[in-house]
Symmetry: C2
Subunit: 346 residues, 2 copies
């Protein structure tokens, strides 16, 4: 073993994407005179008559939401992808394009406008997990749908235009770039070791304990060694599973428990409704076998220093590669020490 | 030739990175109820006593800026990279890290606090170009500096904490991810065609004219066919050059002219001091030959609809891949039709 480099500028290797990230641990001492965000944690009503996601309300297209009591999904009124476009490619010298086909859905997590995942009951989060599972299976089995991206943009700072608790699912014909990168590295490792790259990494993390935030029988939530966002977290099943369709009932519950515990810690970090984008990476639904894959869910939260100061991924990050100011271990320690009880309920 | 797919959801191939971007041209009809930014175009004084970049002022470290009259560069007081770290690697099972060594500099474009590139005189922008050139050469010839990233974060929305006209240079030992991606594609094309991938693309664009925004004898500025950001622009030399160190005096002036014309159009778009991150991609300074490379400068501006509504690159974009709402051709047309005279001077 060599020199400990965790206290000096260094880069860390992301085993799943094959990319490096730059870590500058000494840099948080920098004073911040730049942009601050509004802390948008308003007290919300359980029902908002002007919200297009609340039960019974009419959306801008004229469609009326049912009086739903459980998670409710519908086709996005302004879908970025459409299912009935003609399949075509267009090639003109060095300009190459092709139709993208897909279905975009909105998933309302709860009829209650005032809630967010950390404020929901565990059994209601389990219903969200079941909904994701159902949508993954149903969308994935449709013709021309080869990949299903489940995600949530939470908070105005993450481009979320409605505080009603909801996520989205964009499913499509082609395999997205981020999935292709990971497939490549899962496959290389599998071919060499006949074992799950992420599974083996989790074993190492469970032994080290240093970056683990929450854990139960079936799941672990940790700050990955190669985290990019200041308080980035990955949740992964301990069992080698390729997609959420494989979750048993017990595992669904265990997943919901981890989701609740983790998002409570997040809210407690800066005593704010913590913004993030989260997403599930799992196998394509193109019918091929992907035994090497190990599904996982990641949270990319933008906040760095407080409820109002975020990390900007700009010039250097866009043109060279990601850079972070605190180590994964520092972030993990901070998150580990936070209470398991939501600050609004303490 | 096949079906025209530019009016339906499609994806386009980036020949330089090998990645695809999703384009949903029908989607701008979507109403926007989300976050809006403050339009921060304050009238500025030519000198601000509290600005740590103005001539003669003292910075937080106690260092005092000289009474500079031309572009002024100095080592970043809060450098993300340091030159004197011990070189080491650290490998522990699936966790791999190594020291990153580098030098971070700040480049003040002008002593005048109130200016920005579009408001500067062409001959003063030429001095900025000369400064970039000098820094690229000098930093690049230092031991352990194998890549020099020149960039600018403009505007509070891009994490810029000081409105004084300035950019940054982060130079480092390792070759960044974005450069490696492009090297690969330049090389593959070169080996096959003995010709510049970007040069051949430029020829095609110069013939098509559709995406060209500004052009002079030596340079062209265009919206790349595979643009990600709504009004993304690439400036490239018509001549096959690997790095800005190769610019002749005439070419320096021509580059400055294009920079001024382009940034004037940007400011005119929403009649605001247009925010962006820009950066120059050029060959590593590791001493190897890169005949295949063709340097270029890109501008990634976040604004989509107005001075206060930006495009959020969040959930789908982070987990799957980039998505845009207007086509490159629509963006180009809008930019082409804008005046060449700055709106504050009309
Ligand atoms: O200008 P600063 O304060 O050095 O920092 C800014 O640019 C850096 C390089 O793109 C980013 O890492 C920071 O997040 C951003 O705030
Ligand atoms: O929630 P919306 O309005 O569909 O849109 C939001 O998420 C999308 C998917 O990540 C992004 O493309 C948009 O920029 C963002 O505003």
């Amino acid at each position: 073993m060599s020199h400990d480099i965790n206290s000096i500028p260094h880069r860390r290797y992301n085993i799943l994407t094959g990319e490096w990230i730059l870590c500058s641990p000494h840099r948080t001492k920098r004073p911040w005179q730049g942009k601050t965000e509004k802390d948008t944690t308003p007290k919300k009503e359980t029902y908002d008559p002007s919200c297009y996601l609340c039960p019974g309300n009419t959306r801008s297209t004229g469609d009326k939401n049912p009086d739903y009591k459980e998670p409710y999904t519908f086709i996005n009124d302004f879908s970025a992808l459409l299912i009935d476009s003609p399949v075509a490619t267009q090639e003109n010298g060095l300009m190459k394009a092709e139709t993208e086909i897909g279905i975009c859905k909105v998933v309302c997590f709860s009829p209650d406008h005032s809630l967010t995942l950390p404020l929901m009951e565990e059994e209601d989060i389990t219903k969200v997990v079941k909904t994701w599972k159902k949508e993954y299976d149903e969308l994935g089995s449709q013709e021309n749908i080869n990949y299903v991206q489940i995600f949530e943009n939470k908070g105005a700072i993450m481009g979320c235009s409605n505080p009603h608790p909801h996520g989205q699912i964009w499913s499509q014909m082609s395999i997205p770039t981020e999935i292709e990168k990971k497939s490549k590295h899962f496959k290389e490792y599998w071919d060499k070791n006949q074992s799950s790259l992420l599974g083996d990494y989790l074993k190492q993390e469970l032994e080290a304990k240093e970056r683990i935030i929450v854990e139960n029988e079936h799941f672990v939530a940790l700050v990955p060694y190669w985290a990019v966002w200041p308080y980035e977290i990955m949740i992964a099943p301990k069992k080698h599973q390729q997609h959420i369709g494989q979750l048993s009932e017990d595992e669904e519950k265990a997943f919901a428990e981890i989701l609740k515990k983790l998002t409570i810690k997040y809210d407690n970090l800066f005593e704010t409704s913590f913004p993030y984008s989260s997403g599930i990476h799992q196998i394509p639904t193109d019918g091929a076998e992907y035994p090497e894959w190990h599904w996982h869910m990641s949270f990319y939260p933008p906040l760095l220093r407080s409820a109002t100061v975020k990390k900007f991924m700009v010039g250097y990050e866009m043109f060279a590669g990601p850079q972070r100011d605190i180590t994964a271990e520092q972030a993990a320690k901070t998150l580990q020490n936070l209470s398991d009880i939501h600050y609004l309920k303490q």
